[in-house]
């Protein structure tokens, strides 16, 4: 299998073209560049600080229980994001976890430890296992996701993320929380998008498209997860999407050290690319079999390009073997017949 000589993307990656030096077109035209984003990071960090100041000057500030609702998977990046929000930025944080019924036991322990250590409130939503199993099972062969979405994540992860984003946004609107934070790594989102205000007309359109796909996969079982008209009517226009790890220094060793002091430990039973979810390995395998490339290749390539990870480490993460017993257990839990 031919790979880009600069990042980790394989020849099977959609739209990939290699130049004479074996460097891929994604590297040549990347939105994430090594060492060239320091000024940009500072720009967006300053923008975030200005936004925080604006929120604190708002007359409603003292009555508002939370400044930010943070999507919290229990993984290393979202755990570090919580720490950054609560300690570095001194924000009033509500952490929200979507329990997709595949969270590793250690991840649940990590969630409790981190939230306790940081003294932040935590909300967990645990939908019916039957509904989720059907949703994930139906996602495996879903054909409604944009091609780019399938480069970034598996179909199963796309469905899970759509449900998470909807729930977080609904909760933020209902509770009047101005900031919504995600623990996206620098490889997952360009820094230019790390501090962005939601716009109602754009929200309506993107939510509408997402809803059509999720309804196709889940039918009416999706409805409780999705935004309703009343949420759009309530929407004030002062809700921001924040991805702090895109504009802060990202060093995995530092991250692990910091969250370790909060009682976080790496689960021993998740795959190489997840620190919280037992469904991940199965989702990755299904994606690879269907599309011919690993769904984490895009993010890892971005981390390599940005200088956050060596190419060697990236290649290792993408080629780690998966325990067949774990895959079988997930397959059974999803109600799939024997493969």
């Amino acid at each position: 299998m031919k790979l880009c000589t600069s990042c980790v993307l394989p020849e099977t990656f959609p739209g990939i073209v290699f130049d004479k030096a074996g460097v891929c077109n994604y590297c040549r035209k990347s939105l994430v560049r090594k060492n060239s984003s320091t000024d940009l990071k500072k720009k967006y960090s300053d923008r975030f600080l200005a936004l925080i100041a604006e929120i604190r000057e708002d007359d409603r500030y003292s009555q508002r229980p939370y400044d930010v609702i943070a999507a919290y998977s229990g993984g290393k990046d979202s755990s570090f994001t919580l720490r950054v929000l609560a300690i570095d930025f001194q924000l009033k944080v509500l952490a929200m976890t979507f329990n997709n019924s595949f969270l590793a036991p250690r991840a649940l322990e990590n969630i409790k430890n981190v939230c306790t250590s940081l003294k932040i409130d935590h909300m967990m939503v645990s939908p019916s296992r039957g509904i989720l199993s059907r949703a994930f099972r139906n996602s495996i062969n879903a054909d409604c996701y944009p091609p780019k979405a399938l480069q970034r994540a598996s179909t199963i992860c796309n469905t899970c993320m759509d449900l998470i984003k909807s729930l977080i946004l609904k909760t933020a609107i209902e509770m009047g929380i101005p900031l919504i934070s995600y623990g996206w790594s620098p490889g997952q989102i360009p820094v230019q998008s790390s501090v962005m205000r939601f716009n109602l007309s754009m929200l309506k359109q993107t939510q509408g498209a997402m809803k059509r796909c999720v309804l196709k996969i889940m039918g009416e079982e999706a409805l409780p997860f999705l935004l309703q008209k009343r949420h759009l009517d309530l929407f004030s226009g002062n809700t921001y999407n924040i991805s702090p790890l895109a504009f802060l220094e990202y060093d995995e060793r530092v991250i692990l050290n910091e969250i370790g002091s909060l009682g976080w430990e790496s689960p021993g039973d998740t795959d190489a690319n997840s620190t919280n979810c037992l469904l991940n390995a199965f989702a990755n395998k299904a994606h690879q079999e269907r599309f011919g490339f690993h769904p984490y290749a895009f993010e890892i390539a971005g981390l390599v390009r940005g200088g956050y990870m060596s190419r060697e480490t990236g290649l290792k993460r993408l080629s780690m073997p998966v325990d067949s017993g774990s895959l079988k257990a997930v397959s059974e839990k999803l109600g799939l017949s024997k493969q």
């Binding site: 944009p146 780019k148 360009p190 998008s193 962005m196 007309s201 754009m202 359109q205």
Partner: protein, 81 residues
């Protein structure tokens, strides 16, 4: 600068992987599932970097970003100042 051409090239290469069969200047990126909510952010990053403009929060609307012709109109007006 050929704004429409640059945007088309970016959309075809980055979001459609070379398949431009169903893409015209008025095709809705969102309605046709070419670009999702994360993709809009990537499009904004491309527009800011390529045309040296700043997309203000209130300008992040479908009328400015949801088709090749929309982006061309929006960018051209920003570049004129």
């Amino acid at each position: 600068m050929d704004v429409a051409g640059a945007v088309r090239s970016f959309i075809v290469e980055y979001f459609l992987f070379g398949d431009d069969e169903n893409l015209n200047d008025h095709t809705s990126f969102i309605e046709e599932a070419i670009v999702d909510s994360t993709g809009i952010l990537e499009l904004v990053a491309f527009v800011e970097e390529t045309f040296s403009i700043r997309v203000e929060d209130e300008e992040l609307i479908p009328e400015n970003l949801d088709s090749i012709s929309s982006v061309e109109r929006y960018v051209s007006s920003k570049m004129k100042g």
